[in-house]
Symmetry: C2
Subunit: 221 residues, 2 copies
Protein backbone atom coordinates (compact mmCIF):
# COMPACT_ATOMS: atom_id res chain seq x y z
CA UNK A 1 0.00 0.00 0.00
CA UNK A 2 2.17 2.79 -1.36
CA UNK A 3 0.66 5.70 0.45
CA UNK A 4 -1.34 5.39 3.60
CA UNK A 5 -4.25 7.68 4.41
CA UNK A 6 -2.34 8.92 7.40
CA UNK A 7 1.47 9.07 7.41
CA UNK A 8 3.01 6.09 9.22
CA UNK A 9 6.23 7.86 10.11
CA UNK A 10 6.98 11.20 11.67
CA UNK A 11 10.39 12.56 12.58
CA UNK A 12 9.54 12.78 16.25
CA UNK A 13 8.10 9.26 16.38
CA UNK A 14 11.16 7.94 14.56
CA UNK A 15 13.51 9.68 16.96
CA UNK A 16 11.60 8.43 19.96
CA UNK A 17 11.71 4.88 18.65
CA UNK A 18 15.42 5.16 17.88
CA UNK A 19 16.07 6.30 21.41
CA UNK A 20 14.03 3.43 22.74
CA UNK A 21 16.15 0.92 20.82
CA UNK A 22 19.34 2.58 22.03
CA UNK A 23 18.12 2.71 25.61
CA UNK A 24 17.08 -0.92 25.78
CA UNK A 25 19.50 -2.66 23.42
CA UNK A 26 22.48 -0.38 23.24
CA UNK A 27 23.97 1.91 20.65
CA UNK A 28 25.46 -0.97 18.65
CA UNK A 29 22.03 -2.46 18.13
CA UNK A 30 20.80 0.59 16.30
CA UNK A 31 20.56 0.66 12.52
CA UNK A 32 18.10 1.99 10.00
CA UNK A 33 16.57 -1.42 9.18
CA UNK A 34 16.32 -2.07 12.88
CA UNK A 35 14.48 1.16 13.47
CA UNK A 36 12.19 0.42 10.53
CA UNK A 37 11.24 -2.93 11.97
CA UNK A 38 10.50 -1.30 15.29
CA UNK A 39 8.21 1.17 13.57
CA UNK A 40 6.57 -1.46 11.40
CA UNK A 41 7.72 0.08 8.13
CA UNK A 42 10.28 -0.70 5.47
CA UNK A 43 13.78 0.68 5.89
CA UNK A 44 13.95 2.85 2.77
CA UNK A 45 10.87 4.75 3.90
CA UNK A 46 12.92 6.38 6.60
CA UNK A 47 15.08 8.02 3.99
CA UNK A 48 12.08 10.06 3.03
CA UNK A 49 12.23 11.76 6.45
CA UNK A 50 15.98 11.85 7.05
CA UNK A 51 18.65 12.56 4.50
CA UNK A 52 20.94 9.93 5.90
CA UNK A 53 21.80 8.06 9.05
CA UNK A 54 23.92 10.92 10.39
CA UNK A 55 20.93 13.26 10.30
CA UNK A 56 18.94 10.71 12.23
CA UNK A 57 21.64 10.41 14.89
CA UNK A 58 21.87 14.15 15.10
CA UNK A 59 18.14 14.36 15.68
CA UNK A 60 18.46 11.82 18.47
CA UNK A 61 21.20 13.89 20.10
CA UNK A 62 19.05 17.00 19.86
CA UNK A 63 16.14 15.21 21.45
CA UNK A 64 18.26 14.08 24.38
CA UNK A 65 19.52 17.54 25.22
CA UNK A 66 16.21 19.10 24.30
CA UNK A 67 14.79 17.62 27.47
CA UNK A 68 17.24 19.59 29.58
CA UNK A 69 15.49 22.56 31.07
CA UNK A 70 17.18 25.86 31.74
CA UNK A 71 17.21 27.10 35.33
CA UNK A 72 14.80 29.87 36.24
CA UNK A 73 16.88 31.93 38.58
CA UNK A 74 17.32 35.63 39.12
CA UNK A 75 20.75 37.10 38.48
CA UNK A 76 22.63 38.01 41.63
CA UNK A 77 25.51 37.12 43.89
CA UNK A 78 24.52 33.48 44.06
CA UNK A 79 24.83 33.18 40.28
CA UNK A 80 26.95 30.03 40.57
CA UNK A 81 23.84 28.13 41.60
CA UNK A 82 22.40 28.82 38.16
CA UNK A 83 25.20 26.75 36.70
CA UNK A 84 24.98 24.09 39.37
CA UNK A 85 21.32 23.62 38.51
CA UNK A 86 22.05 23.67 34.80
CA UNK A 87 24.77 21.08 35.26
CA UNK A 88 22.54 18.83 37.33
CA UNK A 89 19.69 19.07 34.82
CA UNK A 90 22.11 18.22 32.08
CA UNK A 91 23.38 15.23 34.03
CA UNK A 92 19.91 13.91 34.75
CA UNK A 93 18.85 14.31 31.14
CA UNK A 94 21.82 12.43 29.78
CA UNK A 95 21.82 9.67 32.35
CA UNK A 96 18.23 8.96 31.38
CA UNK A 97 19.67 7.89 28.04
CA UNK A 98 23.16 6.82 28.97
CA UNK A 99 23.61 4.50 25.99
CA UNK A 100 23.15 7.49 23.74
CA UNK A 101 25.91 9.44 25.42
CA UNK A 102 28.58 8.77 22.78
CA UNK A 103 26.28 10.27 20.16
CA UNK A 104 26.33 13.57 21.97
CA UNK A 105 30.07 13.70 21.63
CA UNK A 106 30.05 13.13 17.91
CA UNK A 107 26.73 14.19 16.49
CA UNK A 108 25.74 17.19 18.58
CA UNK A 109 25.84 20.37 16.55
CA UNK A 110 27.51 22.95 18.71
CA UNK A 111 25.29 25.70 17.43
CA UNK A 112 22.46 24.21 19.47
CA UNK A 113 24.34 24.62 22.68
CA UNK A 114 25.24 28.14 21.68
CA UNK A 115 21.69 29.35 21.94
CA UNK A 116 21.85 28.44 25.59
CA UNK A 117 25.19 30.13 25.99
CA UNK A 118 23.75 33.43 24.94
CA UNK A 119 21.23 33.25 27.74
CA UNK A 120 23.92 32.17 30.18
CA UNK A 121 26.17 35.04 29.09
CA UNK A 122 23.36 37.51 29.65
CA UNK A 123 22.80 36.01 33.05
CA UNK A 124 26.47 36.42 33.95
CA UNK A 125 26.47 40.01 32.82
CA UNK A 126 23.31 40.77 34.80
CA UNK A 127 24.89 39.18 37.84
CA UNK A 128 27.85 41.52 37.63
CA UNK A 129 30.43 38.91 36.73
CA UNK A 130 33.33 40.59 34.88
CA UNK A 131 33.17 40.08 31.15
CA UNK A 132 36.70 38.70 30.95
CA UNK A 133 35.51 35.65 32.86
CA UNK A 134 32.49 34.81 30.74
CA UNK A 135 34.26 32.67 28.18
CA UNK A 136 36.20 30.92 30.90
CA UNK A 137 32.97 30.05 32.63
CA UNK A 138 30.99 29.03 29.56
CA UNK A 139 33.78 27.05 27.93
CA UNK A 140 34.62 25.47 31.26
CA UNK A 141 31.03 24.52 31.97
CA UNK A 142 30.70 22.89 28.56
CA UNK A 143 33.83 20.83 28.91
CA UNK A 144 33.25 19.98 32.52
CA UNK A 145 29.64 18.93 32.31
CA UNK A 146 29.84 17.06 29.05
CA UNK A 147 32.98 15.29 30.17
CA UNK A 148 31.85 14.57 33.65
CA UNK A 149 28.56 13.17 32.52
CA UNK A 150 29.95 11.14 29.64
CA UNK A 151 32.45 9.37 31.85
CA UNK A 152 29.67 8.62 34.25
CA UNK A 153 27.31 7.48 31.51
CA UNK A 154 29.65 4.88 30.01
CA UNK A 155 30.49 3.33 33.34
CA UNK A 156 29.56 -0.34 33.42
CA UNK A 157 26.63 -1.28 35.67
CA UNK A 158 28.93 -3.17 38.01
CA UNK A 159 31.32 -0.32 38.64
CA UNK A 160 28.63 2.28 39.19
CA UNK A 161 28.30 1.60 42.88
CA UNK A 162 31.78 2.78 43.82
CA UNK A 163 33.63 5.87 42.71
CA UNK A 164 36.70 3.87 41.74
CA UNK A 165 36.31 0.18 40.90
CA UNK A 166 38.45 -2.66 42.18
CA UNK A 167 40.73 -0.77 44.50
CA UNK A 168 43.07 -3.21 46.22
CA UNK A 169 44.04 -1.94 49.69
CA UNK A 170 47.27 -3.92 49.64
CA UNK A 171 48.71 -2.51 46.43
CA UNK A 172 46.83 0.80 46.49
CA UNK A 173 46.84 1.92 50.11
CA UNK A 174 46.72 5.66 49.46
CA UNK A 175 43.75 5.26 47.16
CA UNK A 176 41.99 2.99 49.63
CA UNK A 177 42.44 5.57 52.38
CA UNK A 178 41.17 8.30 50.10
CA UNK A 179 38.06 6.27 49.33
CA UNK A 180 37.48 5.58 52.99
CA UNK A 181 37.68 9.29 53.75
CA UNK A 182 35.11 10.14 51.08
CA UNK A 183 31.44 10.30 51.90
CA UNK A 184 30.13 11.78 48.70
CA UNK A 185 28.09 10.17 45.99
CA UNK A 186 28.89 10.52 42.34
CA UNK A 187 26.18 13.11 41.96
CA UNK A 188 27.39 15.08 44.93
CA UNK A 189 30.97 15.03 43.65
CA UNK A 190 29.78 16.40 40.35
CA UNK A 191 27.75 19.12 41.99
CA UNK A 192 30.63 20.22 44.18
CA UNK A 193 32.96 20.05 41.22
CA UNK A 194 30.96 22.75 39.48
CA UNK A 195 30.95 24.92 42.60
CA UNK A 196 34.67 24.47 43.07
CA UNK A 197 35.40 25.37 39.50
CA UNK A 198 33.28 28.52 39.57
CA UNK A 199 34.66 29.58 42.90
CA UNK A 200 38.16 29.08 41.52
CA UNK A 201 37.43 31.13 38.42
CA UNK A 202 36.47 34.19 40.40
CA UNK A 203 39.13 33.70 43.08
CA UNK A 204 40.97 36.86 42.17
CA UNK A 205 38.08 38.96 41.07
CA UNK A 206 36.92 41.67 43.46
CA UNK A 207 33.27 40.82 43.36
CA UNK A 208 30.75 39.36 43.12
CA UNK A 209 32.50 36.63 44.98
CA UNK A 210 30.92 33.25 44.80
CA UNK A 211 29.08 32.09 47.87
CA UNK A 212 28.35 28.66 46.60
CA UNK A 213 27.89 26.68 49.78
CA UNK A 214 26.79 27.29 53.30
CA UNK A 215 30.41 27.21 54.35
CA UNK A 216 31.41 29.46 51.46
CA UNK A 217 33.60 32.33 52.47
CA UNK A 218 34.55 35.50 50.78
CA UNK A 219 37.94 36.02 49.25
CA UNK A 220 40.02 38.87 50.54
CA UNK A 221 41.81 40.94 48.02
Amino acid sequence: MPRPSKPLISRTAAVAAALEIIDTEGLEAFSVPRLAKHLGVQAPSLYYHFADKAELMSAVALHVIGDVSLPRRKPGPDWPEYFVTLGLNFRTGILRHRNAAPILLQALPRTVLLRRYEEAAEFLAASGVPEELHVQILDGMERLSLGAVLTEAVRSPGSRATIFPNVDPASQPALARALAANDRTSKRLYEEMIRSFLYGVVRDAELPAAQPTAQGRRLTS
Copy 2:
Protein backbone atom coordinates in the same frame (compact mmCIF):
# COMPACT_ATOMS: atom_id res chain seq x y z
CA MET B 1 53.23 -19.77 3.17
CA PRO B 2 51.50 -20.92 6.36
CA ARG B 3 54.16 -20.01 8.82
CA PRO B 4 56.87 -17.50 8.14
CA SER B 5 60.39 -17.81 9.55
CA LYS B 6 59.83 -14.64 11.50
CA PRO B 7 56.36 -13.64 12.71
CA LEU B 8 54.73 -11.11 10.43
CA ILE B 9 52.48 -9.66 13.10
CA SER B 10 53.11 -8.43 16.60
CA ARG B 11 50.58 -6.85 18.92
CA THR B 12 52.52 -3.61 19.10
CA ALA B 13 52.95 -3.37 15.35
CA ALA B 14 49.27 -4.12 14.85
CA VAL B 15 48.27 -1.44 17.36
CA ALA B 16 50.58 1.10 15.78
CA ALA B 17 49.17 0.37 12.34
CA ALA B 18 45.61 0.57 13.64
CA LEU B 19 46.34 3.96 15.13
CA GLU B 20 47.88 5.10 11.87
CA ILE B 21 44.71 4.18 9.98
CA ILE B 22 42.56 5.94 12.55
CA ASP B 23 44.77 9.02 12.54
CA THR B 24 44.82 9.41 8.78
CA GLU B 25 41.46 8.06 7.68
CA GLY B 26 39.26 8.35 10.73
CA LEU B 27 37.72 5.95 13.18
CA GLU B 28 35.00 4.87 10.75
CA ALA B 29 37.63 3.66 8.31
CA PHE B 30 39.01 1.18 10.74
CA SER B 31 38.14 -2.52 10.50
CA VAL B 32 39.99 -5.76 10.89
CA PRO B 33 40.28 -6.46 7.14
CA ARG B 34 41.44 -2.90 6.69
CA LEU B 35 44.15 -3.29 9.27
CA ALA B 36 45.20 -6.61 7.73
CA LYS B 37 45.63 -5.01 4.33
CA HIS B 38 47.69 -2.26 5.90
CA LEU B 39 49.95 -4.86 7.50
CA GLY B 40 50.14 -6.99 4.37
CA VAL B 41 48.51 -10.04 5.96
CA GLN B 42 45.15 -11.76 5.79
CA ALA B 43 42.41 -10.63 8.13
CA PRO B 44 41.90 -13.89 10.05
CA SER B 45 45.57 -13.91 11.06
CA LEU B 46 44.90 -11.01 13.37
CA TYR B 47 42.56 -13.16 15.41
CA TYR B 48 45.57 -15.18 16.44
CA HIS B 49 46.88 -12.12 18.31
CA PHE B 50 43.64 -10.56 19.52
CA ALA B 51 40.61 -12.39 20.83
CA ASP B 52 38.24 -10.04 19.05
CA LYS B 53 37.89 -6.55 17.73
CA ALA B 54 37.10 -5.13 21.15
CA GLU B 55 40.42 -6.33 22.52
CA LEU B 56 42.15 -4.65 19.62
CA MET B 57 40.40 -1.36 20.29
CA SER B 58 41.22 -1.63 23.95
CA ALA B 59 44.88 -2.10 23.09
CA VAL B 60 44.74 1.00 20.92
CA ALA B 61 43.25 3.00 23.80
CA LEU B 62 45.97 1.76 26.12
CA HIS B 63 48.63 2.75 23.64
CA VAL B 64 47.26 6.27 23.36
CA ILE B 65 47.26 6.92 27.07
CA GLY B 66 50.47 4.95 27.54
CA ASP B 67 52.31 7.80 25.88
CA VAL B 68 51.19 10.20 28.58
CA SER B 69 54.05 10.75 30.97
CA LEU B 70 53.56 11.40 34.67
CA PRO B 71 54.91 14.67 36.04
CA ARG B 72 58.15 14.51 38.03
CA ARG B 73 57.45 16.99 40.75
CA LYS B 74 58.21 17.12 44.42
CA PRO B 75 55.26 17.22 46.80
CA GLY B 76 54.72 20.59 48.40
CA PRO B 77 52.52 23.66 48.52
CA ASP B 78 52.52 24.04 44.75
CA TRP B 79 51.01 20.56 44.35
CA PRO B 80 48.31 21.85 41.99
CA GLU B 81 50.95 22.26 39.32
CA TYR B 82 51.44 18.49 39.38
CA PHE B 83 47.88 18.13 38.15
CA VAL B 84 48.17 20.97 35.70
CA THR B 85 51.15 19.26 34.12
CA LEU B 86 49.41 15.91 34.17
CA GLY B 87 46.36 17.41 32.53
CA LEU B 88 48.41 19.11 29.83
CA ASN B 89 50.36 15.92 29.11
CA PHE B 90 47.11 14.08 28.84
CA ARG B 91 45.71 16.69 26.49
CA THR B 92 48.77 16.63 24.24
CA GLY B 93 48.79 12.85 24.12
CA ILE B 94 45.15 12.61 23.11
CA LEU B 95 45.18 15.46 20.63
CA ARG B 96 48.01 13.66 18.85
CA HIS B 97 45.41 11.02 18.05
CA ARG B 98 42.21 12.98 18.11
CA ASN B 99 40.30 10.59 15.86
CA ALA B 100 40.84 7.88 18.46
CA ALA B 101 39.31 9.97 21.22
CA PRO B 102 35.91 8.24 21.21
CA ILE B 103 37.64 4.91 21.82
CA LEU B 104 39.00 6.22 25.09
CA LEU B 105 35.51 6.85 26.29
CA GLN B 106 34.27 3.37 25.53
CA ALA B 107 37.20 0.98 25.51
CA LEU B 108 39.50 2.30 28.18
CA PRO B 109 39.64 -0.06 31.14
CA ARG B 110 39.46 2.11 34.22
CA THR B 111 41.86 -0.09 36.12
CA VAL B 112 44.65 1.29 33.97
CA LEU B 113 43.96 4.80 35.09
CA LEU B 114 43.79 3.62 38.67
CA ARG B 115 47.45 2.76 38.79
CA ARG B 116 48.13 6.40 38.17
CA TYR B 117 45.63 7.45 40.77
CA GLU B 118 47.52 5.60 43.46
CA GLU B 119 50.62 7.63 42.67
CA ALA B 120 48.59 10.81 42.59
CA ALA B 121 46.96 9.99 45.93
CA GLU B 122 50.38 9.42 47.48
CA PHE B 123 51.48 12.72 46.07
CA LEU B 124 48.51 14.51 47.58
CA ALA B 125 49.14 12.94 50.97
CA ALA B 126 52.81 13.87 50.87
CA SER B 127 51.84 17.43 49.97
CA GLY B 128 49.70 17.67 53.06
CA VAL B 129 46.36 17.88 51.30
CA PRO B 130 43.59 16.67 53.64
CA GLU B 131 42.50 13.14 52.91
CA GLU B 132 38.83 14.08 52.63
CA LEU B 133 39.67 16.01 49.48
CA HIS B 134 41.60 13.29 47.65
CA VAL B 135 38.65 11.60 46.00
CA GLN B 136 37.18 14.97 45.05
CA ILE B 137 40.44 15.87 43.37
CA LEU B 138 41.07 12.56 41.63
CA ASP B 139 37.52 12.02 40.47
CA GLY B 140 37.30 15.64 39.40
CA MET B 141 40.54 15.48 37.48
CA GLU B 142 39.41 12.38 35.64
CA ARG B 143 36.09 13.83 34.61
CA LEU B 144 37.47 17.23 33.83
CA SER B 145 40.46 16.20 31.76
CA LEU B 146 38.79 13.41 29.86
CA GLY B 147 35.78 15.55 29.16
CA ALA B 148 37.66 18.69 28.33
CA VAL B 149 39.96 16.91 25.96
CA LEU B 150 37.29 14.82 24.28
CA THR B 151 35.18 17.85 23.46
CA GLU B 152 38.25 19.50 22.06
CA ALA B 153 39.30 16.41 20.11
CA VAL B 154 36.03 15.97 18.24
CA ARG B 155 35.84 19.60 17.18
CA SER B 156 35.75 19.92 13.41
CA PRO B 157 38.84 21.42 11.77
CA GLY B 158 36.91 24.51 10.77
CA SER B 159 35.66 25.36 14.23
CA ARG B 160 38.99 24.83 15.95
CA ALA B 161 40.17 28.34 15.40
CA THR B 162 37.58 29.99 17.61
CA ILE B 163 36.37 29.00 21.05
CA PHE B 164 32.72 29.16 19.98
CA PRO B 165 31.84 28.79 16.30
CA ASN B 166 29.49 30.98 14.29
CA VAL B 167 28.59 33.52 16.91
CA ASP B 168 26.31 36.10 15.38
CA PRO B 169 26.78 39.51 17.06
CA ALA B 170 23.27 40.58 16.11
CA SER B 171 21.39 37.72 17.72
CA GLN B 172 24.00 36.82 20.31
CA PRO B 173 25.37 40.11 21.59
CA ALA B 174 26.29 38.94 25.08
CA LEU B 175 28.23 36.01 23.69
CA ALA B 176 29.97 38.20 21.16
CA ARG B 177 31.04 40.61 23.90
CA ALA B 178 32.28 37.71 25.99
CA LEU B 179 34.35 36.42 23.10
CA ALA B 180 35.79 39.86 22.45
CA ALA B 181 36.81 40.11 26.10
CA ASN B 182 38.60 36.78 26.01
CA ASP B 183 42.27 36.58 25.13
CA ARG B 184 42.91 32.97 25.98
CA THR B 185 43.57 30.07 23.69
CA SER B 186 41.85 26.74 24.06
CA LYS B 187 44.91 25.29 25.71
CA ARG B 188 45.20 28.17 28.11
CA LEU B 189 41.53 27.93 29.05
CA TYR B 190 42.00 24.26 29.83
CA GLU B 191 45.08 24.91 31.91
CA GLU B 192 43.38 27.62 33.93
CA MET B 193 40.32 25.44 34.29
CA ILE B 194 42.35 22.87 36.17
CA ARG B 195 43.86 25.54 38.41
CA SER B 196 40.48 27.05 39.12
CA PHE B 197 38.99 23.71 40.00
CA LEU B 198 41.81 22.76 42.37
CA TYR B 199 41.79 26.17 43.97
CA GLY B 200 38.07 25.87 44.46
CA VAL B 201 38.36 22.44 46.04
CA VAL B 202 40.65 23.67 48.77
CA ARG B 203 38.89 26.98 49.20
CA ASP B 204 37.81 26.21 52.72
CA ALA B 205 40.73 24.09 53.80
CA GLU B 206 43.21 25.73 56.14
CA LEU B 207 46.29 24.71 54.30
CA PRO B 208 48.19 24.04 52.15
CA ALA B 209 46.43 26.65 50.12
CA ALA B 210 46.90 26.50 46.42
CA GLN B 211 49.24 29.05 44.93
CA PRO B 212 48.57 28.12 41.41
CA THR B 213 49.43 31.22 39.47
CA ALA B 214 51.70 34.18 39.85
CA GLN B 215 48.68 36.17 40.92
CA GLY B 216 47.48 33.39 43.21
CA ARG B 217 46.49 34.61 46.62
CA ARG B 218 45.96 32.89 49.88
CA LEU B 219 42.55 32.35 51.34
CA THR B 220 41.83 33.87 54.69
CA SER B 221 40.05 31.76 57.18
